[in-house]
Symmetry: C2
Subunit: 220 residues, 2 copies
Protein backbone atom coordinates (compact mmCIF):
# COMPACT_ATOMS: atom_id res chain seq x y z
CA UNK A 1 0.00 0.00 0.00
CA UNK A 2 1.70 3.16 -1.23
CA UNK A 3 1.39 6.07 1.22
CA UNK A 4 1.47 9.75 0.39
CA UNK A 5 3.81 11.50 2.85
CA UNK A 6 4.64 15.11 3.66
CA UNK A 7 7.92 15.74 5.52
CA UNK A 8 9.53 18.79 7.10
CA UNK A 9 6.82 21.28 6.16
CA UNK A 10 7.92 24.26 8.26
CA UNK A 11 5.24 26.68 9.41
CA UNK A 12 5.45 29.80 11.54
CA UNK A 13 3.39 29.91 14.73
CA UNK A 14 0.92 32.14 12.87
CA UNK A 15 0.50 29.56 10.12
CA UNK A 16 2.62 30.74 7.20
CA UNK A 17 4.78 28.22 5.34
CA UNK A 18 6.49 30.81 3.22
CA UNK A 19 6.97 34.53 3.42
CA UNK A 20 5.83 37.30 1.13
CA UNK A 21 7.85 38.31 -1.93
CA UNK A 22 9.24 34.99 -3.18
CA UNK A 23 11.86 35.36 -5.90
CA UNK A 24 14.93 33.72 -7.36
CA UNK A 25 17.05 35.40 -4.70
CA UNK A 26 14.57 34.77 -1.87
CA UNK A 27 12.82 31.39 -2.29
CA UNK A 28 11.04 31.84 1.07
CA UNK A 29 10.36 35.56 0.58
CA UNK A 30 10.79 37.77 3.64
CA UNK A 31 10.97 34.64 5.83
CA UNK A 32 14.54 34.14 4.62
CA UNK A 33 16.06 30.98 6.13
CA UNK A 34 14.20 31.33 9.41
CA UNK A 35 11.68 28.56 8.71
CA UNK A 36 14.44 26.04 7.96
CA UNK A 37 17.15 27.00 10.43
CA UNK A 38 16.27 23.95 12.57
CA UNK A 39 17.04 21.74 9.54
CA UNK A 40 20.45 22.96 8.40
CA UNK A 41 22.47 21.78 11.44
CA UNK A 42 21.14 18.20 11.23
CA UNK A 43 23.38 15.33 10.20
CA UNK A 44 20.81 14.38 7.55
CA UNK A 45 21.08 17.78 5.87
CA UNK A 46 24.86 17.88 6.14
CA UNK A 47 25.11 14.43 4.50
CA UNK A 48 22.58 15.35 1.81
CA UNK A 49 24.44 18.46 0.76
CA UNK A 50 28.01 17.61 1.75
CA UNK A 51 28.06 21.02 3.41
CA UNK A 52 30.02 20.02 6.49
CA UNK A 53 31.03 23.25 8.19
CA UNK A 54 32.99 24.37 11.20
CA UNK A 55 29.85 25.50 13.00
CA UNK A 56 27.88 22.25 12.72
CA UNK A 57 30.62 19.69 12.12
CA UNK A 58 29.09 16.44 10.89
CA UNK A 59 25.70 17.59 12.13
CA UNK A 60 23.42 17.08 15.11
CA UNK A 61 21.79 13.75 15.98
CA UNK A 62 18.85 14.92 18.07
CA UNK A 63 15.15 14.82 17.40
CA UNK A 64 15.33 17.33 14.55
CA UNK A 65 17.78 15.03 12.77
CA UNK A 66 15.63 11.99 13.45
CA UNK A 67 12.78 13.61 11.58
CA UNK A 68 15.01 15.00 8.83
CA UNK A 69 16.53 11.54 8.29
CA UNK A 70 13.10 10.00 7.67
CA UNK A 71 12.47 12.23 4.67
CA UNK A 72 13.80 9.92 1.96
CA UNK A 73 13.26 6.51 3.54
CA UNK A 74 11.09 4.30 1.38
CA UNK A 75 10.28 7.06 -1.10
CA UNK A 76 10.00 6.14 -4.79
CA UNK A 77 8.69 9.39 -6.29
CA UNK A 78 7.86 12.98 -5.40
CA UNK A 79 5.05 15.36 -6.34
CA UNK A 80 5.82 19.07 -6.18
CA UNK A 81 4.16 22.30 -7.17
CA UNK A 82 5.65 24.41 -9.89
CA UNK A 83 6.54 27.15 -7.41
CA UNK A 84 8.84 24.74 -5.61
CA UNK A 85 10.52 23.84 -8.89
CA UNK A 86 11.34 27.44 -9.70
CA UNK A 87 10.37 31.09 -9.60
CA UNK A 88 8.95 31.39 -13.15
CA UNK A 89 5.19 31.88 -13.52
CA UNK A 90 2.96 31.47 -16.59
CA UNK A 91 4.19 29.89 -19.85
CA UNK A 92 7.83 28.76 -19.66
CA UNK A 93 10.05 31.58 -20.93
CA UNK A 94 13.27 29.78 -20.21
CA UNK A 95 13.44 25.99 -20.40
CA UNK A 96 17.13 26.09 -19.51
CA UNK A 97 15.99 26.49 -15.87
CA UNK A 98 16.32 23.00 -14.41
CA UNK A 99 15.44 23.67 -10.80
CA UNK A 100 17.29 25.02 -7.79
CA UNK A 101 19.39 21.96 -7.14
CA UNK A 102 22.36 21.91 -9.54
CA UNK A 103 23.61 18.91 -11.52
CA UNK A 104 22.61 16.26 -8.98
CA UNK A 105 19.21 17.08 -7.47
CA UNK A 106 18.62 15.43 -4.10
CA UNK A 107 15.53 13.46 -5.20
CA UNK A 108 17.15 10.48 -6.97
CA UNK A 109 13.73 9.39 -8.20
CA UNK A 110 10.98 10.63 -10.53
CA UNK A 111 9.48 14.01 -9.62
CA UNK A 112 6.05 15.00 -10.91
CA UNK A 113 5.93 18.80 -11.27
CA UNK A 114 2.37 20.16 -11.32
CA UNK A 115 1.95 22.92 -13.87
CA UNK A 116 -0.72 24.27 -16.18
CA UNK A 117 2.06 24.80 -18.74
CA UNK A 118 3.60 21.42 -19.63
CA UNK A 119 7.12 21.21 -21.05
CA UNK A 120 9.23 18.20 -22.05
CA UNK A 121 10.35 15.85 -19.29
CA UNK A 122 14.08 15.71 -18.64
CA UNK A 123 16.56 13.87 -16.46
CA UNK A 124 19.28 15.40 -14.38
CA UNK A 125 21.61 13.10 -12.47
CA UNK A 126 19.42 10.37 -10.98
CA UNK A 127 16.28 12.51 -11.03
CA UNK A 128 13.66 12.69 -13.79
CA UNK A 129 11.27 15.65 -13.83
CA UNK A 130 7.84 15.06 -15.38
CA UNK A 131 5.72 18.16 -16.02
CA UNK A 132 2.00 17.48 -15.81
CA UNK A 133 -1.23 19.49 -15.80
CA UNK A 134 -3.10 17.16 -13.44
CA UNK A 135 -5.58 17.17 -10.54
CA UNK A 136 -4.35 15.87 -7.18
CA UNK A 137 -5.95 12.47 -7.81
CA UNK A 138 -4.41 12.22 -11.29
CA UNK A 139 -1.00 13.39 -10.08
CA UNK A 140 -1.02 10.81 -7.31
CA UNK A 141 -1.85 8.06 -9.80
CA UNK A 142 1.08 9.11 -12.01
CA UNK A 143 3.46 9.26 -9.04
CA UNK A 144 2.32 5.91 -7.65
CA UNK A 145 3.06 4.32 -11.02
CA UNK A 146 6.52 5.90 -10.99
CA UNK A 147 7.24 4.90 -7.38
CA UNK A 148 7.56 1.17 -8.04
CA UNK A 149 5.75 0.07 -4.90
CA UNK A 150 7.46 2.58 -2.61
CA UNK A 151 5.81 5.63 -1.02
CA UNK A 152 5.25 9.00 -2.67
CA UNK A 153 6.47 12.21 -1.05
CA UNK A 154 4.42 15.37 -1.45
CA UNK A 155 7.16 17.97 -1.53
CA UNK A 156 5.16 21.20 -1.36
CA UNK A 157 4.84 24.11 -1.52
CA UNK A 158 2.08 24.98 0.89
CA UNK A 159 -0.64 25.48 -1.73
CA UNK A 160 -0.07 22.01 -3.12
CA UNK A 161 -0.07 20.42 0.34
CA UNK A 162 -3.31 22.22 1.15
CA UNK A 163 -4.96 20.98 -2.05
CA UNK A 164 -3.98 17.37 -1.38
CA UNK A 165 -5.13 17.62 2.25
CA UNK A 166 -8.46 19.07 1.12
CA UNK A 167 -8.81 16.13 -1.27
CA UNK A 168 -8.01 13.79 1.66
CA UNK A 169 -5.12 12.11 -0.16
CA UNK A 170 -2.40 12.56 2.50
CA UNK A 171 -1.53 9.64 4.80
CA UNK A 172 1.39 11.14 6.77
CA UNK A 173 1.85 14.83 7.51
CA UNK A 174 4.95 16.03 9.34
CA UNK A 175 4.70 19.71 10.23
CA UNK A 176 7.42 21.67 11.99
CA UNK A 177 6.13 24.73 13.82
CA UNK A 178 8.79 27.42 14.21
CA UNK A 179 8.27 29.95 17.05
CA UNK A 180 8.30 33.07 14.90
CA UNK A 181 5.46 35.37 13.85
CA UNK A 182 5.85 35.86 10.09
CA UNK A 183 2.81 38.08 9.69
CA UNK A 184 2.39 37.57 5.95
CA UNK A 185 2.98 35.03 3.23
CA UNK A 186 1.21 31.83 2.32
CA UNK A 187 -1.03 30.19 4.91
CA UNK A 188 -1.02 26.41 5.29
CA UNK A 189 -4.22 25.80 7.24
CA UNK A 190 -6.77 27.83 5.28
CA UNK A 191 -9.79 25.81 4.21
CA UNK A 192 -8.84 22.81 6.35
CA UNK A 193 -11.22 23.31 9.29
CA UNK A 194 -11.66 20.09 11.24
CA UNK A 195 -8.58 18.42 9.70
CA UNK A 196 -7.74 16.86 13.08
CA UNK A 197 -10.85 14.66 12.91
CA UNK A 198 -9.24 12.58 10.16
CA UNK A 199 -5.83 12.21 11.82
CA UNK A 200 -4.12 10.98 14.96
CA UNK A 201 -1.66 13.58 16.18
CA UNK A 202 1.65 13.18 18.00
CA UNK A 203 3.51 16.25 19.23
CA UNK A 204 7.22 16.51 20.06
CA UNK A 205 8.95 19.71 21.20
CA UNK A 206 12.60 19.96 20.23
CA UNK A 207 15.17 21.70 22.45
CA UNK A 208 15.83 23.91 19.42
CA UNK A 209 12.41 25.50 19.95
CA UNK A 210 10.57 23.97 17.02
CA UNK A 211 7.67 21.57 17.53
CA UNK A 212 7.23 18.48 15.38
CA UNK A 213 3.63 17.51 14.65
CA UNK A 214 3.05 14.06 13.21
CA UNK A 215 -0.42 13.64 11.73
CA UNK A 216 -1.25 10.05 10.80
CA UNK A 217 -4.36 9.42 8.72
CA UNK A 218 -6.83 7.23 10.59
CA UNK A 219 -7.91 4.01 8.86
CA UNK A 220 -10.70 4.76 6.45
CA UNK B 1 8.59 45.56 39.66
CA UNK B 2 5.05 44.65 38.69
CA UNK B 3 4.86 42.36 35.67
CA UNK B 4 2.03 42.05 33.20
CA UNK B 5 1.29 38.35 32.64
CA UNK B 6 -0.88 36.37 30.24
CA UNK B 7 -1.75 32.80 31.24
CA UNK B 8 -3.48 29.90 29.51
CA UNK B 9 -4.30 31.71 26.28
CA UNK B 10 -5.41 28.76 24.16
CA UNK B 11 -4.94 29.02 20.42
CA UNK B 12 -5.70 26.58 17.62
CA UNK B 13 -2.82 25.47 15.40
CA UNK B 14 -4.15 27.86 12.76
CA UNK B 15 -4.00 30.79 15.18
CA UNK B 16 -7.55 31.34 16.42
CA UNK B 17 -8.16 31.98 20.12
CA UNK B 18 -11.90 31.87 19.85
CA UNK B 19 -14.35 30.55 17.30
CA UNK B 20 -16.92 32.31 15.18
CA UNK B 21 -20.38 33.10 16.53
CA UNK B 22 -19.76 33.94 20.19
CA UNK B 23 -22.92 34.21 22.28
CA UNK B 24 -24.26 33.76 25.77
CA UNK B 25 -24.72 30.07 25.04
CA UNK B 26 -21.40 29.67 23.23
CA UNK B 27 -18.69 31.86 24.78
CA UNK B 28 -16.06 30.38 22.43
CA UNK B 29 -18.37 30.29 19.39
CA UNK B 30 -18.11 27.23 17.17
CA UNK B 31 -14.91 26.24 18.99
CA UNK B 32 -17.05 25.01 21.87
CA UNK B 33 -14.89 23.67 24.71
CA UNK B 34 -12.22 22.31 22.41
CA UNK B 35 -9.67 25.06 23.12
CA UNK B 36 -9.89 24.48 26.89
CA UNK B 37 -10.32 20.71 27.11
CA UNK B 38 -6.68 20.39 28.26
CA UNK B 39 -7.51 22.67 31.22
CA UNK B 40 -10.63 21.11 32.70
CA UNK B 41 -9.02 17.86 33.96
CA UNK B 42 -6.26 19.67 35.87
CA UNK B 43 -6.16 19.71 39.65
CA UNK B 44 -5.93 23.52 39.54
CA UNK B 45 -9.21 23.80 37.64
CA UNK B 46 -10.96 21.21 39.79
CA UNK B 47 -9.91 23.08 42.95
CA UNK B 48 -10.89 26.45 41.49
CA UNK B 49 -14.38 25.33 40.59
CA UNK B 50 -15.00 22.57 43.12
CA UNK B 51 -16.15 20.48 40.16
CA UNK B 52 -14.60 17.19 41.24
CA UNK B 53 -16.08 14.55 38.99
CA UNK B 54 -15.91 10.84 38.50
CA UNK B 55 -13.98 11.17 35.25
CA UNK B 56 -11.16 13.38 36.54
CA UNK B 57 -11.26 12.72 40.29
CA UNK B 58 -9.21 15.35 42.10
CA UNK B 59 -7.52 16.30 38.84
CA UNK B 60 -4.29 15.63 37.00
CA UNK B 61 -0.88 16.78 38.23
CA UNK B 62 1.09 16.79 35.00
CA UNK B 63 2.54 19.65 33.00
CA UNK B 64 -0.87 21.07 32.06
CA UNK B 65 -1.69 21.38 35.76
CA UNK B 66 1.69 22.94 36.52
CA UNK B 67 0.90 25.73 34.10
CA UNK B 68 -2.72 26.07 35.18
CA UNK B 69 -1.63 26.33 38.82
CA UNK B 70 0.64 29.29 38.07
CA UNK B 71 -2.29 31.40 36.85
CA UNK B 72 -3.12 33.11 40.13
CA UNK B 73 0.23 33.08 41.90
CA UNK B 74 1.36 36.57 42.83
CA UNK B 75 -1.48 38.27 40.98
CA UNK B 76 -3.02 41.40 42.52
CA UNK B 77 -5.33 42.58 39.73
CA UNK B 78 -6.64 41.59 36.30
CA UNK B 79 -7.33 43.48 33.10
CA UNK B 80 -9.92 42.02 30.76
CA UNK B 81 -11.76 43.08 27.65
CA UNK B 82 -15.47 43.64 27.75
CA UNK B 83 -16.11 40.61 25.55
CA UNK B 84 -14.61 38.38 28.22
CA UNK B 85 -16.87 39.98 30.84
CA UNK B 86 -20.00 39.24 28.89
CA UNK B 87 -21.78 38.90 25.56
CA UNK B 88 -23.44 42.38 25.48
CA UNK B 89 -22.13 44.91 22.95
CA UNK B 90 -22.67 48.69 22.75
CA UNK B 91 -24.25 50.71 25.58
CA UNK B 92 -25.21 48.54 28.58
CA UNK B 93 -28.83 47.43 28.19
CA UNK B 94 -28.81 45.30 31.28
CA UNK B 95 -26.64 46.19 34.26
CA UNK B 96 -27.94 43.20 36.18
CA UNK B 97 -25.44 41.12 34.17
CA UNK B 98 -22.51 40.65 36.54
CA UNK B 99 -20.31 38.37 34.49
CA UNK B 100 -20.24 34.65 33.76
CA UNK B 101 -18.94 33.56 37.12
CA UNK B 102 -21.80 33.51 39.64
CA UNK B 103 -21.73 34.89 43.18
CA UNK B 104 -18.04 34.24 43.84
CA UNK B 105 -15.99 35.06 40.74
CA UNK B 106 -12.60 33.32 40.66
CA UNK B 107 -10.53 36.52 40.56
CA UNK B 108 -10.54 37.52 44.26
CA UNK B 109 -8.95 40.83 43.33
CA UNK B 110 -9.80 43.99 41.39
CA UNK B 111 -10.64 43.47 37.71
CA UNK B 112 -10.36 46.35 35.25
CA UNK B 113 -12.91 45.80 32.44
CA UNK B 114 -12.06 47.75 29.28
CA UNK B 115 -15.15 49.30 27.70
CA UNK B 116 -16.10 52.37 25.72
CA UNK B 117 -19.34 52.39 27.74
CA UNK B 118 -18.52 52.88 31.44
CA UNK B 119 -20.95 51.78 34.13
CA UNK B 120 -20.71 51.88 37.93
CA UNK B 121 -18.10 49.69 39.58
CA UNK B 122 -19.41 46.89 41.77
CA UNK B 123 -18.14 44.16 44.04
CA UNK B 124 -19.18 40.55 43.97
CA UNK B 125 -17.70 38.19 46.57
CA UNK B 126 -14.01 39.08 46.84
CA UNK B 127 -13.86 40.60 43.35
CA UNK B 128 -14.38 44.26 42.40
CA UNK B 129 -15.10 45.10 38.77
CA UNK B 130 -13.98 48.53 37.55
CA UNK B 131 -15.28 49.61 34.13
CA UNK B 132 -12.92 51.95 32.31
CA UNK B 133 -12.62 53.51 28.86
CA UNK B 134 -8.81 53.45 28.78
CA UNK B 135 -5.86 52.87 26.47
CA UNK B 136 -3.60 49.89 27.22
CA UNK B 137 -1.07 52.16 28.97
CA UNK B 138 -3.78 53.84 31.06
CA UNK B 139 -5.43 50.53 31.92
CA UNK B 140 -2.12 49.09 33.04
CA UNK B 141 -1.50 52.10 35.31
CA UNK B 142 -4.92 51.66 36.92
CA UNK B 143 -4.39 47.93 37.42
CA UNK B 144 -0.88 48.39 38.82
CA UNK B 145 -2.28 50.81 41.40
CA UNK B 146 -4.93 48.24 42.32
CA UNK B 147 -2.48 45.34 42.49
CA UNK B 148 -0.69 46.49 45.63
CA UNK B 149 2.78 45.55 44.49
CA UNK B 150 1.78 42.21 43.01
CA UNK B 151 1.63 41.35 39.29
CA UNK B 152 -1.21 42.12 36.91
CA UNK B 153 -2.82 39.42 34.81
CA UNK B 154 -4.05 40.25 31.33
CA UNK B 155 -7.07 37.99 31.11
CA UNK B 156 -8.04 38.35 27.44
CA UNK B 157 -9.80 38.02 25.12
CA UNK B 158 -7.54 37.74 22.12
CA UNK B 159 -8.11 41.28 20.82
CA UNK B 160 -7.05 42.77 24.13
CA UNK B 161 -3.95 40.57 24.35
CA UNK B 162 -3.01 41.55 20.81
CA UNK B 163 -3.37 45.26 21.63
CA UNK B 164 -1.18 45.00 24.73
CA UNK B 165 1.42 42.97 22.83
CA UNK B 166 1.46 45.55 20.03
CA UNK B 167 2.03 48.24 22.67
CA UNK B 168 4.88 46.11 24.09
CA UNK B 169 3.42 46.03 27.60
CA UNK B 170 3.43 42.25 28.17
CA UNK B 171 6.24 40.67 30.23
CA UNK B 172 5.08 37.05 30.35
CA UNK B 173 2.99 35.33 27.68
CA UNK B 174 1.83 31.75 28.17
CA UNK B 175 0.19 30.39 25.02
CA UNK B 176 -1.28 26.91 24.73
CA UNK B 177 -1.47 25.63 21.16
CA UNK B 178 -4.21 23.05 20.68
CA UNK B 179 -3.81 20.69 17.70
CA UNK B 180 -7.09 21.53 15.99
CA UNK B 181 -7.79 23.55 12.85
CA UNK B 182 -10.58 25.98 13.78
CA UNK B 183 -10.72 27.67 10.39
CA UNK B 184 -12.50 30.84 11.57
CA UNK B 185 -12.83 33.08 14.57
CA UNK B 186 -10.52 35.63 16.13
CA UNK B 187 -6.83 35.48 15.24
CA UNK B 188 -4.23 36.07 17.95
CA UNK B 189 -1.10 36.77 15.90
CA UNK B 190 -2.33 39.36 13.40
CA UNK B 191 -0.24 42.52 13.37
CA UNK B 192 2.48 41.02 15.58
CA UNK B 193 5.11 40.23 12.93
CA UNK B 194 8.54 39.81 14.52
CA UNK B 195 7.14 39.40 18.05
CA UNK B 196 9.77 36.75 18.79
CA UNK B 197 12.56 39.34 18.57
CA UNK B 198 11.41 40.84 21.87
CA UNK B 199 10.98 37.56 23.76
CA UNK B 200 12.83 34.45 24.82
CA UNK B 201 10.76 31.37 24.05
CA UNK B 202 10.51 28.05 25.85
CA UNK B 203 8.43 25.24 24.36
CA UNK B 204 6.96 22.23 26.20
CA UNK B 205 4.81 19.56 24.56
CA UNK B 206 2.28 17.92 26.86
CA UNK B 207 1.29 14.26 26.52
CA UNK B 208 -2.27 15.58 26.12
CA UNK B 209 -1.29 16.97 22.70
CA UNK B 210 -1.20 20.66 23.54
CA UNK B 211 2.03 22.66 23.42
CA UNK B 212 2.88 25.25 26.05
CA UNK B 213 4.79 28.29 24.78
CA UNK B 214 6.35 30.53 27.40
CA UNK B 215 7.41 33.90 25.99
CA UNK B 216 9.49 35.95 28.43
CA UNK B 217 10.14 39.58 27.57
CA UNK B 218 13.87 40.27 27.19
CA UNK B 219 15.34 42.96 29.41
CA UNK B 220 14.74 46.36 27.83
Amino acid sequence: MTKLRVHNLAVSIDGFATGEGQSLEAPFGHAGHRLMSWFFPTRAFVEMTGHESESVGAGTRGVDDAFAAATNLGIGAEIMGRNKFGPQRGPWQDESWQGWWGEEPPFHSPVVVLTHHPRPDFSLGETTFLFRDASPVEALAIAVEQAGGLDVRLGGGPTVVREFLAADLVDHLHIVVVPIVLGRGERVWDGLEGLEERFDVEVIASPTGVVHYVFTRRPR
